[in-house]
């Protein structure tokens, strides 16, 4: 399925949705880590 999304010209929209979502996902995880470090520093 992932190969179809990457290679198929008919799935351009789905490809961007998939990649875009993963980018958002990694930004959120990075923010979560940053806020956690902040919280732990405040606790100290």
């Amino acid at each position: 399925m992932i190969n179809y999304i990457i290679n198929s010209p008919n799935a351009v929209y789905d490809k961007y949705v998939c990649i875009g979502s993963f980018v958002i996902l990694f930004i959120i995880i990075a923010l979560t880590l940053v806020f956690t470090i902040k919280v732990l520093k405040e606790k100290k």
Partner: protein, 354 residues
Amino acid sequence: MKKFIDVFKQKNMATGYLYFYVHFITEVVCFVCLKRIVGNLVILWLSPLLYDMFAFVPQAMFGYIKDKYPKFNPGVIGTFIMILAVINFMTNILPLRYLSVVILALGNGLMHVDAAVATLRSSEGKLSQPAIFVAGGSFGVITGKILGDTLMPMWVLIILALTMIPFCLLGQSYVENINTLKKFNYANDKVNPMVLILLTTLVVIVRGYAGYGIPTTWNQTLLQTVMLFSFMGIGKALGGIFIDAFGMKKTALLSVLVSIPFLVFGDTIMIVSLIGTMLFSMTMAVTLGLLVSVLKDNPGLAFGYTTIGLFLGTIPIFFITIKSVLINSLIVSTLSIICYIVLKVIIRKEDKND
């Protein structure tokens, strides 16, 4: 047995029951919608991935906001966001293909955060209440999947969603002073807090992955699937109840190590597999208890780590399929042993009077 019964006499157990209903309805609404998504293979593949992504991952951020601004009410907001998604599923007013799925998932995430924070804040360091709330999801998922195949009209979901609001508001009334969170004390103080958070999340990732790798050849009929989800739900609730009754270390041992033979040898024997699934599901309360013990003033953020871990654990199943029962069994066993070693290090040594 007395210890087990005493758990149900704990203060504020009602929050667990109230949010059990909220979680149940949330999953019913979401899974009826997901079950009715039609289209080509890409849509059927990408929709669940996007749903998991936007339901699970942002919960840490929603939780952090809730921790910082206690007046923020994710339960009521989440209900209306889910209703908006259901209306869009019915009418397609917003034309973008995956928008309804993303809106629905965000609403789902907000509901989870509301329930997690309320149950953790009101439980006075106990884990039965949050575990009972989490258990409602398994029953909701299977009910939603069944109802999705019926002729039930979509507007019924809006009514169901609206019934959650009084439950959320009542649940909020149990939330007490933030200081009760200090009573969560399950984590080993000698381990660096950030390392402990990452190791616990790793356990959640591994368990999330293993959950999909459990060999269940026996599962062929609808009734058997209902049984599987029901035992998952019972296991999640029992995890919290067992920790409150018998302690964190014993529950971790039971859920991570004792479950292995049941899971591996239960491939074709339903009852053995169901016992394994029930024991396996108890890990949820163990990891949540550890994370809240480190992030004491931020229960929302702590809960978010469990959902991020679950999502990361389920990513491989969207891309790789392992069909061999033997390989699956080996992976589940090896990962479970690693999890147990990690948990043994990060769980606080219990005092005799605990």
